[in-house]
Symmetry: C2
Subunit: 649 residues, 2 copies
Amino acid sequence: MGNTDFECSHRVAVPPPRSFLLSIKSSLKETFFPDDPFRQFKDQPLARKLILGLQYFMPILEWAPRYTFEYFKADVVAGITIASLAVPQGISYANLASLPPIIGLYSSFVPPLIYAMLGSSRDLAIGTVAVPSLLISSMLGEVVNPHQNTKLYVQLVVTATFFAGVFQASLGFLRLGFIVDFLSHATIVGFMGGAATVVCLQQLKGILGLVHFTHGTDLVSVMKSILGQTHKWRWESGVLGCCFLFFLILTRYFSKRRPTFFWINAMAPLISVILGSILVYFSHAEKHGVEVIGHLKKGLNPPSLSELAFGSQYLSTAIKTGLITGLIALAEGIAVGRSFAMFKNYHIDGNKEMIAFGMMNIAGSCTSCYLTSGPFSRTAVNFNAGCKTAVSNIVMATAVMITLLFLTPLFHYTPLVVLSSIIISAMLGLIDYEAAIHLWKVDKFDFVICIGSYFGVVFGSVEIGLVIAIVISLLRVLLFVARPRTCVLGNIPNSINYRSVDQYPIAQSVPGILILQIEAPIYFANSNYLRERILRWINEEEDKLKSSLEIGLQYVVLDMSAVCSIDTSGISMLEEVKKILDRKGLKLVLANPGSEVMKKLDRSKFIEAIGDEWIYLTVAEAVGACNFMLHSCKTNPKTDDSEEADNNV
Amino acid sequence: MGNTDFECSHRVAVPPPRSFLLSIKSSLKETFFPDDPFRQFKDQPLARKLILGLQYFMPILEWAPRYTFEYFKADVVAGITIASLAVPQGISYANLASLPPIIGLYSSFVPPLIYAMLGSSRDLAIGTVAVPSLLISSMLGEVVNPHQNTKLYVQLVVTATFFAGVFQASLGFLRLGFIVDFLSHATIVGFMGGAATVVCLQQLKGILGLVHFTHGTDLVSVMKSILGQTHKWRWESGVLGCCFLFFLILTRYFSKRRPTFFWINAMAPLISVILGSILVYFSHAEKHGVEVIGHLKKGLNPPSLSELAFGSQYLSTAIKTGLITGLIALAEGIAVGRSFAMFKNYHIDGNKEMIAFGMMNIAGSCTSCYLTSGPFSRTAVNFNAGCKTAVSNIVMATAVMITLLFLTPLFHYTPLVVLSSIIISAMLGLIDYEAAIHLWKVDKFDFVICIGSYFGVVFGSVEIGLVIAIVISLLRVLLFVARPRTCVLGNIPNSINYRSVDQYPIAQSVPGILILQIEAPIYFANSNYLRERILRWINEEEDKLKSSLEIGLQYVVLDMSAVCSIDTSGISMLEEVKKILDRKGLKLVLANPGSEVMKKLDRSKFIEAIGDEWIYLTVAEAVGACNFMLHSCKTNPKTDDSEEADNNV
């Protein structure tokens, strides 16, 4: 061929062959065990393996032996702090889920104990969460009225919790944790913001002291319901609510300004509850339109195994609710756990966390609890209070236990409007408009996802918002694959580097050679597009050269550096492009195909078709070889290829 | 920083800013107009623009003025040849779709005329196609019995055809042609093979002369139906069928060996029909269990606009059938058209073809036709017969018209078993086992898609097969994005190139520096995985270095050449990795981020965070700078970064 000048020792290598089973095994491992959990088991005696295995599933066995009194002191302080938040929040969120308030307290007792044994986070504080609570009430409330048929409703809720737990645990066991990754950051920002808006709107019922309220969660029906009964607004309730809301927002603002006073923020809900209760007790406001919690049963969680309604006609709704709320609770809990683990520089295993979450919800569903996760607010307080290990959860559970055993009568006069204020103030922190602005600045597409999920939740329903966000996110991925970018490369002056002329305006094109970079795997979804696009680049280049007096186009170099993968449709596309170029009298040259691509080009005999002397390690070498042919041989490639082209017809 | 040696003039450029509208416009253009159809309209006077626009939508206006008598001679020969195939195939496929045979003939008259005006392919021969025919009978046959309620069934079929046409045309007008691209080559191979198998199985009814037969299309119910009524098999019918099948397969084999005798294969069906009819006429075999077509109405297509059953209770089924069959017919027609266009080196515009297909089916649905497309067999015969333009379709339509007007009585004695033989022999060519073997050799995943769709069709239904194939194909794309490959790069000796050590076993690692390449866009779906994987690479490298006496790990270079895009989740991931590396006392260095990535890193201030002196144009420059720091300064990066790390907590 004459291009011996460039036959340097660096040829593009076809990677060493691997057996089929071996490559299947390695790709399965990368898919399901990217964190390589078996590494520590290697080369260990059997007894040690057993201990390691137990420790793997129950992290408490790992850290308990190293537990010190110093840690304990810190954990007790943190545990009591979060307990003071857990009691009012538990009651509030149970209210949000249309459940009897006592179930919110039950849910802060058993699940934290289970998590303390199985969870790998040191900072996560377990409790009920706002968005899934709202979802439960809107999804199950559609089939059963929670106020008229409370018993059946509670049965459905614990059943849904059971399925949520089973789903979470099986995701973990099946190593399918990456499903959670498909809820992107932008989705979560929009979704949480929307859900928080909806929750705040729902609380207007409590603040305004309304008795009848719409079952819809969307903005339109809530506003209709509120504005339609202005005559029923209770000013006593409204004034009380606004005062407490103001107090709570003030303490939050104050704590944010001075992080050492975090406890003011943490204690504020409990203080509000105490103040509100005292106020109602002495003013008898419950007789003037201020609703109160009323009687709370004393005693620990009753078992609820027999309540699981597997035979109910609404089982499918319960399962659906369980799956959706379970997934959202997981996403929130894992994201929160990971964020705080990053601060303290330790590692959280997503799949292990899923098993822990699942187990705690299965156990919860048997002990009259509903869905729990790791709420951001409580975890942040736990972290600020200086927790060291999951023992703070045990302390919190103990405090809740004492409340359940002895203190429930104290909540008799707690006004519901205070609970509404607590929820609103917690929700305002979830509307992260700054994150949305950041998304707009950095990535418009992410912003669209975020806004789509926000408006979906606010104007449609929580599920619609979620579906919108996931569909847009997936469309983006598919669009990326279906419409990959291609760009023309040019030589950066005084170097052997070739870069996109769009990014580096100084890059210079090489006469007679068109260098194209393909920036995506070549798959069935884009092979037709890429063929069209490559031919369009070539046509445009030829048009441009026709008008000038420069040397005509003779070589097309495809830079394959960014083509990580190719399938059979992609290979057919390359074959077609080669045929078309042959007919035009142009020569196709490949630069730097990766191992996966080389393997498949080799197997499909495309390397033979193109000639392996036309595949180069770098764009520079490819251009060098083309230039050498262009200038020294002066043979028109048309002559030696036209024959081949004819054979192909 | 001291690395002035490497501050060469080549910095990684942030691409010049573009306005938001401009970038939206350009990405919309790439998505919907990748073929740039407006290019020819630029800088033309209005009159010329009008003419070009008309020519764009009616390609016949473009080529008719250049039409010569030479072309006409060739087209007449080709047209008569395909007509001889069209008549028996039309009747057979109508039979397959459970329609009166005459509708098959109608469908070879009007649609080819429309296509000749609007279509851009010179080789496509229009006619009914096997797989959609089968689909129509299995989908609509489920709601209406075609034999007991023929009138309603035919109404539903034309309605479905109407919706198929509307769907196809709107895909074209909306420039959504790329939806067809999601049916990959592997999907089509498996799907067509499965459908051909199913169609062959259905023909056993005709061959064995059975009267009652299952409505299911899957292997199990067909075999049950056949083996359950062995006592009803008619040997006369069976013998006749096998003889003709043998004759047809023989002629096909013969034509394949000698391409110049293609016409033997093309004429064989017509010869079979004539021979079969004569045989029945003289032997009165219709009285001995050999079913015949019977009376065919003389005359051209009656209008069927009033038959469109928009008010029917089965409208939704008709719409669903129309969409699915329309999409499959499109995929087949466009793929066939493209393949033959490639042979003759001209271009087919997918979106324009869709409009042509849609128009011809809308027109067909108003003139008693059912769904038509460009069947492979007929088009191949057309091509081999030397057609020059779409005039061959007009000739075929004229021949069919003459048949409809004068020759239909001749088909009275045509035995159905001959039609079954014609279908089976056509179908056998669609089972492309060689392509499946090729897929297995080149790409195991494509093979799984192919086999999945084959077994889905054969054991489930045509729709199940299609859904399986599309779901696996999409999963593959998502898996590619969710689990991108990362690999360690090493220096290729005697060069400044860095390549994967897996692909190039000679590549050598650089002491103290870990070079990683990420081979996919960094998206929400993979950012968690990538963080884990990068940290695992670093841990493994550190473990390896601990046991040796080499210099410890100090720099991690991320080669971003193949990272074509990044979203906000990806940027957060990079920020987290940087924080973790800072804490470990390692330095993160980026090499060659693309324009899209640089833009977003810049907007999100990550470039400031990492320091733009730590972003290099090539891996070689990055390694050079790191080496310079390692050897000349001898400062431990731990000292100058630990402060920063503390600030981050």
